[in-house]
Amino acid sequence: MMDAFILQAIKYMDILDIAELKIPLQKVTCLLGESGSGKTTLLRLLNHLISPDSGKIYFMGEDLSELNPVELRRRVVMLPQTPVVFPGSVEENLLQGLVYSEKPQVPPEKLTMVMEKVKLSKELHTPAGVLSGGEKQRLALARILLMDPDVFLLDEPSSALDELTEKLILDSLTEYARSQGKTLIMVTHNRRMGDFYADYTVFLEKGHIQKTAEVAACE
C-alpha cells in the first residue's frame, strides 16, 4: 500500500506532536478526536498553509517543504471547517476554484452535475450570500469537486447538515473517491461515521496520535 502522506517527528507549537503518521493513498481516511485536539491544524499542515516547527512531511515520497506550495495546494485541496463563500453568484462561487487554481473552465452541464452530487438545488444565478449554512457547506464542497484534485482534505464537510443529507452526501463523496482513485482525508465529528465510511481511521488526542486503525472492509 502506497502512502499519500508520511509525517515524521512533527511538532507544531504546542498543538501537534506526532512521532509518525502514514496516510494511505487512494483511500478514505477519517480523522477523529475531540474539539481542540488538532485535527484542523493537521489538515492545514498537509495543505502547506502552515509549516511544522520541526519534523518532515512527505507527499508522494517528496519532501513537502521542497514542493512549490501553490502547485501542491492545487493537487491537495482543502475544504475549511467554516465554508468560505466569495462575493458573487452560486455559479461564480463554483467556478472560483478553477479560477484560483488556473484550470480551464468547464461546460455548464458539469456545474449542474456537481450540484446534484452534493444535493444542492439552487439556481446558478442565486447570490451565494443568501444560502443557508448547510447550503454554503455543500457549495464549497461542490467547488472543490469541480477542481478534481488528487487529494481532498475535508474539515468536517457535513457538520451543518441534517442526518439524511449528511448520509447522502458522504455516500456520494466516498463513492466518487473510490471510483476515481482519489485520496480522501476527512475530519468527522463522530466515531460511527468514521467507522462507516473510512478505510483507515486516525485518532488524535491533545495533539498526539492516540491510535490508528484499519477499518475492516465490508465490501
Binding site: I50, S51, E71, V84, F86, V99, Y100, S101, M147
Partner: protein, 259 residues
Amino acid sequence: MNDFIRIGVLQLLAAYLFLAILIFIVRKRGIGREQEIFFAAARMTIQLILVGFLLEYVFSQEHFLYTVIILLIMLHFAVRNIFSRIRLSIKPELKRVVIISMLSGSLLSIAYFLFVVLSLDPWYHPRYFIPISGMIIGNSMTGVALGVERLISGMNDRKELIEGALMLGARPSLAAKSVVNDTFSAAILPTVNSMVGMGIVFLPGMMTGQILAGISPLRAIEYQIAIMLGILGSVSLTVYLLVHFGYRAFFNTRDQLQL
C-alpha cells in the same frame, strides 16, 4: 501685481481677533479646549514665520543644493508623518515598501511635472520647485497613509477569504486581489472627489493664492488644472506601488498568510 494689498503687522494682529473670539466662547461655555486651540494657533504662527524666512533665504540663493535639501526634508517628514498616523502595527517589510513607494512615486511625479510639464529652468528654480513638490508630496502622503491602513485592516478582516483562496491553490497575488483593489480605490477616492467640487464648492488654495497675488484667473486655472492632475498622478502612482508590492508583506516565502 501692483494692486496687491499688503497685510501689515497691525492688520495681522487684527486677524487674531478671530482667535480671541473663539477662545472666549470656548472658555465661557466650559468646553475646555482653549489651551489646545491656543497652542495650535501659536504653532501655526511660529512655523509659518520660520518657513517664510527660510524660503526667503532659499529663493535668494543660486545653488541647487538648497532646493534639494528642502525636498529631502519634506520627504523625510512626509514618511514620518505616515508612520505616526497609522495606529495599527506595521511589519518591517511593509514599512520598507511604504518608504520606497512614497519616495519613488512622488519623486517621479515631481520630476515629470517640473521638467516635462513646466520645463523648469533652471531645473531647481526654488520658487516653483519647492511649493509644487510640497503639494505633490503632501497629497501623496495622505493617500499612502490611508492606503497602508486600509491594506492592513483589509488583510486582517478578510483573512478567511484569503486563506480560503490559498487552500484552493491561488497564488498570493490572486488571493489578495480584492483587498489590493479595494485599498487602491479607497486611497485615491478623496483625491478624485476633491476634483469634483473644485471651482464650485471651493476655490483651491493655490489658485486663490495666485489670484490674490494679482495673476489673471485664466492663468491661475492653467496652473490649478495642471497641478491637480499632477497630484492625481502622484497619489495614484504612490498608492499603486504601495499596494502592488505591499500585499506581499503579508505572505511568507512558502506562500502562507502571515498577519
